[in-house]
Symmetry: C2
Subunit: 214 residues, 2 copies
């Protein structure tokens, strides 16, 4: 590919642009300038233009950006213009909660299976899918061409699971286990770590800080 490397910071902002553009569409807004958008999003207009121009010239001088067009272009960049078969591995509280999040489906992340290691959960139905045991993973992944695995298992089990998943063709791992999987995954597999407890700690840090300030 000819694409230059896009910085992490830019990629991090893309879904936020996408969300705001979606809201503008709902509000019936047809076009928007980088300046108007910058007011809404509290980022600089300069940053918006720089960010977007990493991927192409989506705007028009004197006019601004067509909201629908820009929204659909960002969707393409993010891979939301096609369906990604996804499974959840770990059918505990969090796994089941994510399974019930219908929002993801709308964005093309289609849940095709739920797995766990606990035999007690075998056959239990979650949003119309029966929980399966992990020994069925290899066959299932190939059959359904699973691209994304959501990992909602304890750290110890997560590490074992990763090998099974990637050996059988999973190309992306959405990791909720308390460990950094990107260090133990083949180089052609992408990982996004969520780490909710770290997020809560950052909140706690800022809370602490505010209290001390006064």
């Amino acid at each position: 590919m000819e694409d230059k490397d896009i910085s992490r910071a830019v990629i991090k902002r893309l879904p936020r642009y996408y969300r705001y553009l979606g809201e503008l569409i709902e509000d019936g807004v047809e076009r928007i300038s980088s300046n108007e958008l910058s007011n809404r999003m509290k980022v600089t207009a300069s940053q918006i233009r720089q960010d977007l121009n990493n991927f192409g010239g989506f705007g028009q001088q004197g006019y601004g950006y067509n909201v629908k067009y820009l929204h659909s272009e960002i969707a393409k960049i993010l891979g939301l213009d096609r369906t990604h078969p996804m499974i959840i591995v770990g059918a505990g509280n969090l796994g089941q909660a994510l399974a019930n999040y219908t929002q993801f489906e709308k964005q093309g992340f289609k849940l095709v299976g739920i797995f766990d290691v606990n035999p007690v959960l075998k056959g239990v139905s979650v949003r119309g899918l029966e929980i399966q045991m992990v020994d069925e993973l290899p066959e299932f992944i190939k059959k359904y061409q699973v691209e994304i695995a959501t990992l909602t298992l304890p750290k110890s089990k997560a590490l074992e699971m990763v090998k099974v998943l990637t050996d059988n063709g999973v190309k992306a791992i959405w990791n909720f286990a308390h460990t950094d999987l990107n260090l133990s995954v083949p180089s052609d597999v992408v990982v996004e770590n969520v780490h909710l407890s770290e997020s809560l700690m950052r909140l706690s840090y800022n809370l602490n800080r505010r209290e001390k300030e006064e």
Copy 2:
């Protein structure tokens, strides 16, 4: 306070240091140099030393860092050395899943109440706590001196809720709703936005990218 402003990037890394140090304690490691730690964490030793020195000199020349001591110092910085009364507002799948996450309790985030707007859920027990209706929030927040509110409600309801919460003394909001609350909250209230769907989109972007690369 005399503290200079610590950059976001540093704060983002703190919980990760904390996690690795916790693992080192479990492994019985007593001391560690920035160099050893840098190998494990895949960051530069220089960055580790710079980061830590924002908060004080926790190491010793020729020796390195005492693992237990550093761990406990970071805990203090993050506010994990005391208890934070927390509530969950929104007792849907995600809210209930988070309620059952006992990990948070261990780090001082004590769940004292769960609330929802849906009367059907009233009185339903989640991890020993009966779901309450949101009209009981004002009294409850004051009585239990609630510091943190976890928001797991749809966007529309989240916005109304924020006012009730902050008017009654909540000082920190852990926001899972698909909106940027930091733009609509009093300046003395801190917000941490989670945005799971944005995380999934970043994974999707990287997946897309890898596919195109070959």
